[in-house]
């Protein structure tokens, strides 16, 4: 292994990296503009719920919302929502303290259980909401997830 050569290669790869980054930035973005998905760009809980059409949502104990009390790492937080509410159409997962609160919105066609498990990012200790839309209105359940720090280097 030639040390100098490796350094040169590293420098070269850096330059290519920058060039690619510039190109990527200039490239027109495909797909999703913010207006199409207002719930995903809202910056407060109130706005998010409003954009979801869930402003008058009521707390419900018929939503089994499993989230860890303490997350060892906020980068990956497992969550599980099982709605016992009849006529459940969709389940949305919101992380109140995240820069973008809205994580996901699942729609359940006829024949699919109103159940979903996934993993979300939680930037800091925060309330998580599972918002369930049913034929009889909108309901939600809340869980507090504490995010802890770790490691020897911060």
């Amino acid at each position: 292994m030639n040390h100098e050569r490796r350094t040169v290669l590293r420098q070269l790869s850096k330059v290519t990296g920058y060039a690619l980054a510039l190109l990527a930035g200039a490239w027109p973005r495909l797909g999703w503009s913010a207006e199409q998905r207002p719930a995903f760009t809202a910056e407060t809980l109130e706005e998010t719920l409003k954009a979801l059409g869930a402003s008058g949502s009521k707390e419900s104990s018929e939503i089994e919302f499993k989230a860890p009390e303490i997350a060892e790492n906020g980068a990956v937080v497992p969550v599980e929502v099982d709605s016992k509410l009849p006529g459940t159409r969709s389940i949305a997962i919101i992380v109140e303290k995240n820069p973008h609160l809205m994580s996901a919105d699942f729609t359940f066609p006829e024949g699919t259980d109103p159940y979903v498990a996934t993993r979300v990012k939680v930037a800091e200790t925060s309330n998580l909401l599972a918002v369930v839309k049913t034929d009889a209105g909108v309901f939600h359940a809340t869980r507090l997830v504490k995010v802890t720090l770790g490691g020897c280097g911060g």
């Binding site: 504490k146 802890t148 720090l149 770790g150 490691g151 020897c152 280097g153 911060g154």
Partner: protein
């Protein structure tokens, strides 16, 4: 009397540890290890190769890490390190506990991945329990909960705590705790802020 017994505890633990798990690094091994370290690392940003060089304390602690620390060596290490301790030039031991809490929470500093222009942290929570609200604390070091409340703030108590932060090896040879002041990890002002975190009645450590 009680204090003296407590002070002997680490030594008793050490003796016991050695009896249970006796290991000695062969004498000729040192040169092999040093040569292999030199050949196996490369400088990266602020983590330059001279960081592999050991001062006398580190050399002695490495040499005796697997066995008993002979009392003469322990004395030598304590003497060496006691001589480095400088009290705050203005005589003021206590700074701002809020600054101290931030330093205690911050784990970055001196790693190749860290910004060398930013102040380093003390990373106290990695090893110690301090304020009651932080649940993610380590247990390598003893709990420091209610530190000032229990001990008070007499001049000798303050000076002893300052010495411990400044150079842990002055009274506890080969301590796991970094020598924060002596090695230039934290500034005098940062050490004062940590002192306040430990002693200020308003600090969450004493709440």
């Amino acid at each position: 009397m009680r204090n003296m017994n407590l002070r002997k505890l680490p030594f008793l633990a050490l003796v016991l540890g050695v009896l249970l798990h006796f290991e000695v690094v062969a004498d000729g091994m040192r040169d092999t290890v040093v040569a292999a370290m030199e050949a196996s690392f490369e400088a990266k940003k602020q983590a330059t190769m001279d960081r592999l060089d050991q001062d006398e304390t580190q050399t002695l602690c490495t040499q005796h890490a697997a066995g008993i620390l002979p009392s003469a060596v322990a004395e030598r290490i304590m003497t060496l390190n006691r001589a480095t301790i400088r009290p705050p030039p203005d005589g003021q031991y206590l700074g701002d506990w809020k600054g101290g809490e931030l330093i205690a929470q911050t784990g970055t500093g001196f790693q190749s991945s860290d910004d060398p222009t930013k102040p380093a942290g003390g990373n106290c929570y990695a090893c110690h329990e301090l304020s009651g609200s932080e649940i993610a604390f380590g247990t390598i070091g003893p709990s420091l909960r209610y530190y000032g409340k229990v001990r008070g703030t007499s001049p000798t108590t303050l000076a002893a705590a300052w010495a411990k932060l400044y150079n842990s090896n002055a009274h506890m040879p080969c301590s796991n705790m970094p020598r924060f002041g002596h090695r230039g990890i934290l500034t005098d002002q940062q050490l004062k802020d940590l002192m306040a975190l430990l002693f200020d009645p308003a600090s969450p450590v004493n709440q």
